[in-house]
């Protein structure tokens, strides 16, 4: 057994710095994805004025900020389900890893062409003639992947080496997220101006 994992000297609760770090970790893929799409669709809005283009961007980052806060809150609630005896570092590593796999799945779901995403349905159709119940295969596949996504981060969070690696990654990504939060502040200002001072 890993002694560090049960050390009574480490506090089980996440510190404020860790909470902030986790929020920045959560905000990173959400903002990167939102901004990527905003610029990707920019030509569609090229006909509008610069102020309207900025307005659109303002709302997009505002939505990303709200989404980050909601998702962060949800994961912290999920964190309450982790064993109470886990020290803060392990708890943090587990949440960081869980979010990493969840974000990867969300990206996969959106970025991969719909045809590929329907793959499991096609497998199901192929397997249907061998008398398998219709819903079992996609469900089994889904459950296997979900369980693997859950188990993997929880399992690697046991090891201090992985804890340090995840913490280091989160710290680096957090720096970029701070830039995004600066854009959020700008976005909020734009949205406020458009709604308070525009006719």
């Amino acid at each position: 057994m890993n002694n560090a994992a049960v050390s009574p000297t480490r506090p089980a609760r996440l510190t404020r710095a860790q909470l902030w770090q986790f929020f920045l970790w959560v905000a990173f893929p959400i903002h990167a994805w939102a901004l990527y799409h905003y610029f990707r669709s920019a030509d569609r809005f090229a006909g509008r004025s610069n102020w309207e283009g900025l307005g659109l961007g303002g709302y997009v980052v505002l939505i990303a900020l709200v989404e980050s806060a909601l998702v962060c809150g949800l994961f912290l609630l999920l964190g309450l389900l982790l064993p109470r005896r886990w020290p803060a570092d392990r708890r943090m590593a587990a949440l960081t890893g869980l979010y990493l796999t969840t974000a990867a799945w969300a990206l996969f779901a959106q970025a991969v062409p719909a045809g590929l995403r329907r793959g499991p349905v096609r497998w199901n159709e192929r397997l249907a003639p061998i008398n398998q119940p219709g819903e079992v295969w996609p469900l089994a596949l889904f459950l296997t992947l979900v369980l693997a996504s859950l188990v993997l981060p929880l399992w690697i969070a046991r090891y201090p080496r992985w804890q340090r690696a995840l913490a280091g990654l989160a710290e680096r990504v957090g720096l970029l997220s701070v830039l995004y939060l600066g854009l959020d502040a700008l976005g909020i200002a734009i949205v406020l101006i458009r709604n308070v001072w525009s006719p």
Binding site: P29, I30, W33, A34, Y36, H37, Y38, R40, S41, R44, F45, G47, R48, E52, G55, L56, G58, Y59, V60, I63, A64, E67, L70, V71, A103, A106, L107, A109, Q110, A111, A114, V191, R194, N195, V196, S198, P199
Partner: protein, 509 residues
């Protein structure tokens, strides 16, 4: 009894009272006996599919009845083939190449923004409502010339509350951001986690709406964008409610979304034309065709016609209620459209490059107070004529910027035969640059010339195509006369290109 201090305080307000009396008093008093003006615009309402104008399907029995005491314009033309240029032409009295609102959600050139109908009626109480977000963009631009701007969501009972209400002053951009982030308008959504949730909630709402209204609306509840819903009878009630309390004289502009697609007639109308044996004239595919699925064209046309029939029923109801409530007394009512809709030549609906009759030929009916007889105006007219006509009817001087003129029978003088009318489709061009890829139309009765420019799919030099039709002899535009009448085609083309060149001059630098 006032104290000395209170008296002194009140005297401090005297300059304001004086200024108020100076600016408001005489201005309002001058128009006190003037007629009210109520403009009813229905989006995507082609004259070609109205039995009022000879369409074989009986789509508009109520309009036919109401027309018996109206001035009916039989050759009325829109300024463009979709809402932005066409509505801007109606509201400004200028052609699209002048006002420059040529792309979806464009506004009028800011330097010309005060040249609008509402500014011209500054001594009237001016109220405007547009259910189409694209037209609403224009109303937002003209807001400083409105006494009452009715936000889009006011006439939309089932709506996306969060974005239209929370950001009611900026709901167009907020809604565009919602579509980008949450609705996945571009296949993927800009939101990683919220969009599946949002779409799930939205689908559940849709399902509930279908369940609750499915019996009455077999094709679904009428909608702006599958998210904001209204009903045609609800629109009538909304209009009556808004008009009832307006101070006189008023200029009220109501731009309703139906019969714009998706076509969602009620159960009483949806099968009205099923199996009726109607066959529209067969027309060859156009070089700018979009698709050639004849089956789809037939179904869409049938549903559109059913929706027209549904709308016609509500127009009948609206007039009945307006009269019962005395709201038509001393009120001039205009019933018109922004543009039309088409289902032929491999071209469907209106957001395309065509300027064929179904997309530019729109209805215009004028109901004068106390009018009891029908008057038919057969000469061609344009949406840019509406503003000069309204000013004339209200006893006002003409707007110097307007490119149209007062309509008959309110004007005497030479006939309209030699007066050319125009329409423009240039959604691929930039409004602040000279026009590029575009379709432009000129009507000089009985001829109509359409010039397509810059379309690669035409597979000719410069992507040019010129078509010339004699609308009197060939109202279905089947026989292109351009090769047979090159002199006339060249003369009309020179006129059209000259106007475009002139309008482009300020944008060449």
């Amino acid at each position: 009894m006032l104290t000395r201090r209170e008296f002194l305080k009140l005297t401090g307000l005297l300059p304001l009272v004086y200024a108020g009396a100076h600016w408001l008093g005489p201005r309002r008093a001058a128009a006190a006996n003037s007629p009210n003006i109520l403009i009813l615009l229905f989006d995507t309402f082609t004259a070609q599919n109205l039995s009022l104008h000879g369409y074989a399907r009986r789509t508009t029995p109520n309009l036919e009845r109401l027309a018996e005491r109206a001035i009916v314009y039989h050759q009325h033309y829109a300024g463009g083939n979709f809402t932005t240029p066409a509505t801007a032409s109606l509201l400004t009295g200028m052609y699209p190449w002048t006002h420059r609102a040529i792309r979806l959600f464009d506004r009028v050139n800011p330097a010309l923004a005060r040249r609008n109908m509402f500014a011209a009626f500054d001594d009237y109480h001016r109220v405007a409502y547009a259910q189409n977000p694209v037209a609403n963009t224009l109303l937002v631009q003209f807001m400083r010339d409105l006494d009452e701007y009715l936000p889009l969501h006011k006439g939309v009972p089932w709506r996306d509350v969060l974005f239209t209400r929370l950001f009611s002053r900026d709901h167009i951009i907020a809604t565009a951001a919602r579509n980008l982030s949450l609705r996945g308008e571009f296949e993927r959504s800009a939101s990683l986690f919220l969009s599946p949730l949002y779409n799930r909630v939205w689908r559940a709402k849709e399902k509930r709406l279908r369940r609750d209204n499915g019996d009455e609306f077999p094709l679904g509840l009428p909608t702006l964008d599958e998210e904001n819903h209204m009903t045609l009878d609800g629109n009538v009630d909304f209009l009556l409610e808004q008009v009832a309390g307006l101070p006189h004289p008023y200029l009220a502009y109501f731009h309703f979304f139906p019969p714009h697609g998706p076509y969602r007639p009620t159960a009483a109308h949806v099968q009205r034309f099923d199996g009726d044996g109607f066959e529209p004239p067969r027309k060859p595919l156009h070089p700018l065709k979009m698709e050639s699925n004849a089956g789809r064209f037939e179904v869409e046309r049938r549903w559109y016609d059913a929706y027209l029939s549904n709308l016609d029923e509500q127009i009948g109801r609206l007039f009945q209620l307006l009269e019962q409530r005395g709201l038509l007394q001393n009120t001039i009512l205009l019933l018109t459209a922004d543009h039309g809709e088409m289902f032929e030549r491999g071209i469907i609906k209106h957001f395309h490059k065509s300027l064929h009759q179904p997309v530019v030929h729109i209805p215009l009916l004028v109901f004068l107070p106390g009018q009891s007889e029908r008057l038919d105006i057969l000469s061609p007219t344009s949406a840019v004529d509406v503003l000069p006509t309204l000013l004339h009817l209200a006893g006002k001087p003409p707007a110097p910027w307007a490119e149209g003129c007062t309509l008959r029978p309110f004007r005497s003088g030479p006939a309209d035969a030699e007066r050319p009318f125009y329409a423009l489709e240039a959604k691929e061009s930039h409004p602040a640059r000279p026009l590029g890829m575009s379709s432009a139309m000129l009507v000089r009765w009985p001829y109509k010339l359409t010039h397509y420019y810059g379309y690669r799919e035409l597979e000719v030099a410069d992507g040019r195509l010129t078509e010339l039709f004699n609308l009197e002899q060939d109202p279905e535009e089947l026989d292109n006369l351009a090769p047979q009448m090159p002199d006339l085609a060249n003369e009309l083309l020179a006129n059209l290109l000259g106007r475009m060149e002139q309008a482009d001059a300020p944008y060449r630098s």
